[in-house]
Symmetry: C2
Subunit: 218 residues, 2 copies
């Protein structure tokens, strides 16, 4: 039977939401792996809306669930309606939204607060021994949510971010863009994606490996 | 030397912009084919902004270039600054933006007006004998812009849309989602993508073929 895999989105666009290439490649490789996909996002206002032509702040309100629906072509549910019983695995693409909306790691660092529904679902997944995949900067939010487990994960090779992740109780493992880091104990799979890049063909290699490993562990 | 391929975007989201999966897969396959990518979009207000969770209209203003920049991760230029001399080929992903922003085919049918800069660049490409790729509904805009050439192209198998395309002077060729239609005379390559779908793994097959053919013709 097809594995049902949740994809937790955080908006639509690298600077204030989910990184679009990472999210779409996750969907592509999940579909190619025969998985059933369930996109979800928190129903919350974005703290920032960024003009992606110049990275300036736009004085507009946008909602994370509504913007995430663009990547999901409308096939998306409110995160708060999802529990670990109904999915076999969960993947979190990167982008600043993963560290500004799903938690506030991008501004608060190791003192980050994780969105309560993100915290709940990630902990439910670990308790149910179901795999979690996280790309790019998303492992920082996973590290904070699962600090009590001391997960092993990667955000690539950036020393400052790695130190912040270790300050939250996780173990950081340096990784190239075409590699994955696997915490076999907690079934957590991570890959650097656009933390290293540089281009879409490079991130695709690591994301395909991550998706295959997550589906295999499910 | 790497071929330089323009990707003409029309916003960010299937219901009011470029279809995100089609656009990202175009970028992936171009990068894998060794092409240099130049994203572009018209600097114009969107006539519609659609809430992708329920397809209702949102009473907000958005700009096509600014929203397209989300897909391009900021690496995008204003369409009006681009001419056919500086690119070897041009690809237009689909989504309603390709038929509401690049032209108004989605509302006006065969009486559609094409955005003047889109009309200019498409005609420059044909005059320079440089290839054009178009996905999903984007061939309808190409058909109108290049009506004088009577191009051969596909939007899949939808009879109403095919009839509208033929009413504009083009020749429609029915095509499956994993196939491409090639007009060798005008170097125009088209594939149905999400006009047929149903899923991302299916559209990826036709889009990869289209990108390879466009790069080969360049």
């Amino acid at each position: 039977m097809a594995k049902k895999v949740g994809v937790l989105l955080a908006g639509c666009g690298v600077f204030d939401g989910s990184e679009i290439h990472e999210a779409v490649l996750t969907l592509l490789f999940l579909d190619q792996a025969g998985a059933q996909i369930m996109c979800m996002a928190p129903d919350m206002d974005q703290p920032h809306v960024i003009d992606h032509t110049n990275q300036s702040s736009m004085d507009r309100k946008r909602n994370v669930l509504v913007e995430s629906a663009r990547i999901a072509r409308g096939a998306i549910v409110d995160l708060k309606t999802v529990n670990a019983e109904e999915i076999d695995a969960l993947i979190v693409p990167g982008g600043f939204g993963a560290a500004k909306n799903l938690s506030d790691f991008a501004v608060a660092g190791p003192q980050a607060k994780v969105h309560p529904e993100v915290h709940r679902l990630l902990n439910e997944m670990v308790e149910a021994k179901k795999p979690i995949g996280a790309l790019c900067i998303a492992p920082a939010t996973v590290a904070k949510a699962l600090a009590a487990c001391h997960p092993k994960l990667t955000i690539g090779t950036d020393k400052g971010t790695a130190a912040a992740i270790e300050a939250m109780g996780a173990k950081h493992h340096s990784c190239k863009v075409d590699e994955i880091c696997v915490d076999e104990t907690h079934k957590i799979v991570t890959t650097p994606a656009y933390m290293l890049g540089p281009d879409i063909k490079h991130i695709a290699v690591g994301i395909e490996k991550l998706v295959k490993k997550v589906v295999q562990l499910a």
